[in-house]
């Protein structure tokens, strides 16, 4: 999967947890999950679990703590997908 493809899918994963749909429409690798998308930190675990299910990967919290912006989420997901292949 390309980074753009992962980003498009990630947008769907994040969507239920943000009310800032305007910012979600303009999402890019620099978008911060908490500051820009106003996602409550209590939903970060939900996003990780949903991403695990979506990509059939396992993300431990050492990796998850880096997932603060969209670019770093793509880094972690992309690396995990790579390890599967």
């Amino acid at each position: 999967m390309t980074r753009q493809e992962i980003l498009n899918e990630l947008k769907k994963v994040i969507s239920p947890y943000t009310t800032n749909k305007e910012m979600l429409a303009q999402i890019n690798e620099d978008t911060d999950l908490l500051k820009d998308l106003k996602i409550n930190s209590a939903n970060l675990v939900d996003i990780i679990i949903d991403a695990e299910a979506k990509y059939d990967i396992e993300i431990d919290y050492d990796e998850a703590d880096k997932m603060m912006n969209v670019g770093s989420c793509i880094d972690v997901i992309s690396e995990k997908i790579g390890q599967k292949q």
Binding site: N20, K38, N40, A42, I49, Y61, A64
Partner: protein, 217 residues
């Protein structure tokens, strides 16, 4: 260094089924913390509430330490909660108020714990009602200089919550003339008087219909 950290979790907003799944709670609790729940003193606390209690303690500790070390990352399993003290005969009751404020927790039944992160040892006090969990973390066991507040608001819009929690905190400052709340360059909320940063550490949180603050004098 003087700091404070708080968190509020609305229990109506959590996914109970999901929280009970090992792949979910193992991202928050260490195996030792999960084993703690088997002790009889937790009998009156549902497992999902226990998970979110520990989340709120860890998140509060993270916010406390973020002021000291801006590069710190929030890895819940690296914040280790121990010595959880539950008031005798504790049961979950309804909040039955719009707001609650206090200085310290004397006479208020709170769940207390110690939370460690690396070499840091911090202390937590949590209020738990059927509707929410509200935690404050302090650098010492003495909370007598810890000011806190919890309030129900009629909007779950994050922009409104953010404005309301700031107004709520300012309303509860003894001297609030020319006081505003801004963010320092690291994004941490700070009190400003005539746009000059004050040394009083503050922490703000909101979740669904609840907002909460803490500050330390």
């Amino acid at each position: 260094m003087l700091s404070t950290g708080n968190d509020i979790v609305s229990l109506n907003a959590i996914n109970v089924t999901c929280t009970k799944q090992p792949n979910f709670y193992s991202k928050i609790l260490t195996p030792t913390e999960t084993a703690l729940y088997k002790q009889s003193r937790f009998a009156n606390i549902p497992f999902e509430v226990f998970v979110w209690l520990l989340w709120s303690i860890k998140e509060s500790a993270f916010k406390f330490l973020q002021r000291i070390d801006a590069d710190i990352l929030f890895t819940p399993v690296k914040f280790v909660v121990s010595d959880v003290q539950i008031p005798f005969g504790f049961t979950l009751s309804g909040f039955e108020a719009i707001k609650l404020t206090g200085i310290g927790f004397n006479g208020i039944p709170t769940i207390r714990s110690t939370v460690k992160f690396g070499d840091h040892i911090l202390y937590s006090s949590s209020l738990i009602y059927q509707e929410f969990i509200s935690t404050v973390v302090n650098g010492a066991e003495d909370f007598s200089r810890t000011h806190w507040g919890i309030k129900w608001i009629d909007s779950d819009d994050t922009e409104i919550q953010s404005a309301e929690v700031r107004a709520f905190l300012i309303d509860n400052l003894k001297d609030n003339i020319s006081i505003s709340i801004g963010k320092n360059p690291l994004g941490i909320p700070v009190l400003l008087k005539n746009n000059q940063e004050l040394t009083i550490p503050v922490s703000l949180s909101h979740h669904e219909y609840y907002i909460a603050y803490s500050f330390q004098l």
